[in-house]
């Protein structure tokens, strides 16, 4: 019997598996579960985008693309960032097409971080940043954002967390799981601290198109002094409902992109060819689809926030992504207890806030990437659950 622990490296063994798995194994065993736990769009990729992908296969375009991605796609990405976020990147030197935004994040950590480097990660946030930091040889430094700040990263908290070992700040906004965004004033305050301390920023903007309340997403890269020290991660998964296609991109300073390209070249070769053809169509002709999906999400967002507030689970108004982060403290239960009892008693699945960091204790993540009818039924069941708890 081989003891594989002696072959597996220490870092990978140190990383904990997702704590949420056992919880959802319970959910999978049950019938008639109303899930509010999924983190991808319920929309399917718009037909005209799918058609381009299918067409490329019919035409036999099944070979590798150039390492950085097709030149037409690189150009369209830069056009898109210019027209949507008023940022200019050069398609030949500052753009890299990756396998999802996820690969972009991983490449960035591996290219920037080495032993002893500290990476500041605001929480609650997506589960990948901490383990990928560890795998790259870095030390994660967690900042707990707060409900009373609408889960925005505050400059004072950032200042307090910086040491002479800090190399990188991760800025994941609009945020999974909280739905929080950072507005211009917030970003300017953060930028000041970043520039003072000469650190880099990894801005994960995958939910950038899903910004509500008449607000437009602002990238920290557009703040004075930040363009040269920001790596922007974005992609097609959430904006165009292309999660399964696995396509994203990195934008940033040319010397950084050059190094990321090297790593990408050796590790992945190139992003999927079919997905790239589809993505070109998405960027050229997909604006209306994005607007339509955003409007749909916005209606659901309002309904769900209103629903939770009405039943006594206070919810700050999330202005981004497709999640709501109600506070469940009034029930007297922990996040995990709340979610376990909710699924056992009412067959409604939501994700405990603690899955996204210890600052998620007392909260639950509710996704609204579902039909309005589904959401209404779920809200009714949660309301019943709360009433039964009181008795």
């Amino acid at each position: 019997m081989i003891d594989y622990s002696k072959y597996l490296n220490d870092k990978i063994q140190f990383i904990k598996p997702s704590g949420i798995r056992k919880f959802f194994d319970i959910a999978n065993e049950m019938d008639n579960v109303i899930s509010l736990s999924i983190g991808e769009p319920d929309f399917q990729t718009p037909w005209h985008i799918r058609d381009e992908g299918i067409d490329s296969l019919k035409k036999g375009k099944t070979w590798y693309s150039p390492n950085r991605g097709f030149s037409e796609l690189l150009k369209e990405i830069c056009n898109y960032y210019k027209r949507r976020f008023n940022l200019t990147y050069d398609d030949k030197t500052q753009t890299l097409v990756t396998v999802g935004g996820s690969e972009g994040i991983d490449l960035s950590f591996r290219a920037l971080i080495e032993n002893g480097d500290e990476v500041i990660i605001p929480e609650p946030s997506f589960v990948c940043y901490e383990p990928l930091t560890v795998m790259a040889g870095g030390t994660p430094v967690i900042i707990n954002t707060k409900n009373e700040d609408n889960f925005r990263l505050k400059a004072d908290d950032l200042r307090a967390a910086i040491t002479d070992k800090t190399k990188l700040l991760v800025l994941p906004y609009p945020n999974n799981p909280t739905g929080a965004i950072m507005e211009r004033k917030d970003l300017e305050e953060i930028a000041q601290v970043v520039i003072e301390n000469d650190i880099m920023v990894l801005s994960d903007e995958i939910y950038s198109e899903l910004t509500y309340g008449g607000r437009q997403h602002i990238s920290i890269a557009s703040i004075d002094g930040m363009y040269e020290r920001t790596i922007v991660i974005n992609g097609f998964s959430k904006s165009y409902a292309m999660t399964g296609w696995r396509l994203g991109y990195v934008l940033g300073p040319a010397p950084i992109i050059a190094q990321l390209t090297k790593l990408h070249q050796y590790g992945i070769m190139s992003a999927p060819t079919t997905a790239q053809y589809a993505a070109i169509e998405a960027l050229k002709n997909g604006d209306n689809d994005v607007n339509h999906m955003r409007d749909e999400y916005d209606m659901r967002r309002r309904l769900v926030v209103d629903g939770f507030n009405a039943m006594g689970l206070s919810c700050f108004e999330p202005l981004g992504a497709f999640y709501v982060f109600p506070c469940i403290k009034s029930t007297g239960l922990s996040s995990e207890e709340f979610c376990t009892r909710l699924i056992m008693d009412k067959h409604v699945a939501v994700v405990p806030g603690t899955a996204f960091g210890s600052s998620g204790e007392g909260f639950a993540r509710v996704s609204y990437s579902y039909s309005i009818q589904h959401l209404k039924t779920a809200l009714e069941r949660i309301k019943e659950f709360l009433e039964e708890l009181k008795q």
Binding site: F24, A27, S35, I38, G39, F126, D295, M299, F356, K376
Partner: protein, 160 residues
């Protein structure tokens, strides 16, 4: 208020409070808008989309193509009025193409519909010919998928 009409068009089951929340508007405003649309005849009515095959009534529907000679002064409108007058006729459309009118007719049996066409529709002054096509199954009606199972599995996996 396109968004309001779109919402009501997909599902008129929402309460005005729910619509107001979803559109970020005061409820009184929504109520007033709906009233205005009703008064102006923009909203003609509200009907449940029923999957009649699930109900234990016998019923059949047919799509009837009509070729007609339009009247001098009134064009096609008079013919449309005559067709609309029948209870059996559920929808009347003026078409551009190989025929002039498309009707959806409902009856209890195919024989029923055939007799209606023969005795009441074909005999209208101005009708040149009819072609009757029986509807065998309705899959989708007014944007609603009637054949999707009630509890359809979500194809997505849990992803954080």
């Amino acid at each position: 208020m396109d968004k309001l009409l779109k919402l009501l068009g997909t599902n008129s089951d929402f309460t005005t409070a729910e619509i107001a929340t979803m559109l970020g508007e005061p409820e009184d405003y929504i109520k007033a808008q709906i009233k205005e649309y009703e008064n102006k005849g923009v909203i003609k009515g509200y009907q449940a989309v029923v999957d009649w095959e699930k109900v234990d009534d016998s019923y059949v529907e047919a799509l009837i193509e009509l070729k007609v000679t339009p009247k001098k002064e009134t064009g096609f409108d008079e013919m449309a009025e005559l067709c609309m007058a029948f209870d059996e006729v559920k929808s009347v459309y003026l078409m551009a193409g190989a025929y002039d009118f498309s009707l959806i007719v409902r009856g209890e049996t195919m024989q029923d519909i055939a007799m209606f066409v023969a005795k009441k529709l074909s005999t209208i002054d101005g009708v040149l010919s009819t072609a009757t096509h029986f509807i065998m199954r309705c899959y989708k009606d007014r944007g609603l998928n009637l054949v999707k199972p009630q509890h359809q599995e979500d194809g997505r996996l849990l992803i954080l």
